[in-house]
């Protein structure tokens, strides 16, 4: 933990010695760091707040004073420390864990309604993040009734939540089934996933496809192995 203010080193030294503070009090004389991370008040001082920074410098939590007499509360500080240390609630980043930064290899299985009746489906998808809000990657799917194998890809918009360990993805799918009945498959998916470790996540998928002139609606449950992106 680092404490930051616009105070001079001499003032901070007196303060730290008086209260035997075990962490450094940093002097932000020109308020450049304050301006970048919390703000500056009308009397030319640091706007109080708590900012939690992950190992890759990404800001994962920012709590700022917003009103008169607002201040950093004891409870707020304890909660922030708990989260940073991973001792309570979903840890932000032990080992710089950031689920939305990782490639996911998903294996899903489920069932639904196809043109000829009930069917079972499975898919294998590799999705890589393009920034925070987009994922893209190749996909192979299997349909017991209509398309034994279809190959293609998926592109999805992603809305991360819960400290970036979960997300809702709304995507489009385009595939081609090379085995009879041959044809193109296009569709849309809604995926809700949750990562419970840096390596593994679970997802629920709802998918609506248009294949060979008819519609297919399926739901699936899946598990994903996550890997660090090489870039």
């Amino acid at each position: 933990m680092l404490a930051i203010s616009g105070d001079s080193a001499e003032d901070s030294r007196t303060f730290a010695e008086r209260y035997q503070l075990p962490f450094p009090l940093l002097g932000d004389a020109d308020l450049a760091v304050s301006r970048a991370l919390t703000g500056v008040t009308s009397d030319g001082n640091t706007l109080p707040g708590i900012v939690i920074v992950r190992g890759d410098r990404r800001i994962v939590e920012r709590r700022l004073a917003t009103a008169k007499d607002d201040r950093v509360s004891t409870a707020g500080l304890v909660e922030a420390l708990d989260r940073a240390l991973g001792t309570h609630g979903p840890a932000i980043a032990d080992d710089q864990f950031g689920a939305i930064d990782r490639i996911q290899i998903r294996l899903d299985a489920g069932g639904g309604h196809a043109p000829g009746g009930p069917t079972g489906v499975a898919s294998l998808t590799a999705l890589a993040p393009l920034g925070r809000f987009v994922v893209v990657g190749p996909r192979a799917s299997f349909d017991l009734r209509d398309a034994p194998v279809a190959l293609g890809g998926e592109l999805a918009l992603r809305l991360p939540f819960a400290n970036d360990i979960a997300a809702l993805e709304l995507g489009g799918i385009a595939e081609y089934a090379p085995i009879a009945p041959r044809g193109a498959i296009v569709g849309g998916t809604a995926v809700l996933w949750f990562a419970w470790s840096p390596e593994w996540s679970l997802e629920l998928t709802l998918e609506v496809d248009r294949e060979v002139g008819a519609s297919r609606v399926t739901g699936a449950f899946g598990v994903a192995r996550m890997f660090e992106t090489p870039w």
């Binding site: 404490a3 901070s12 920012r62």
Partner: protein, 61 residues
């Protein structure tokens, strides 16, 4: 921890007006600031040990 709480619980903001727009940066700048004992503390060095909690406080009001 108790001593840490003294820092923040002693803060009292009166007539607070924020003069800068709320920061929206997704990443913290790679700053290095002088500590009370004179040595410079770099954020990057602290992050090497794990996540860092930055507590911004007002010493005078």
């Amino acid at each position: 921890m108790r001593s840490a709480l003294l820092v923040v619980s002693s803060g009292c903001v009166t007539a607070l007006h924020v003069t800068t727009p709320a920061p929206t940066a997704a990443e913290a700048p790679a700053f290095a600031l002088p500590a009370q004992d004179g040595h410079r503390v770099a954020l990057a060095d602290e992050l090497a040990h794990g996540p860092v909690v930055l507590v911004f406080y007002r010493g005078f009001w």
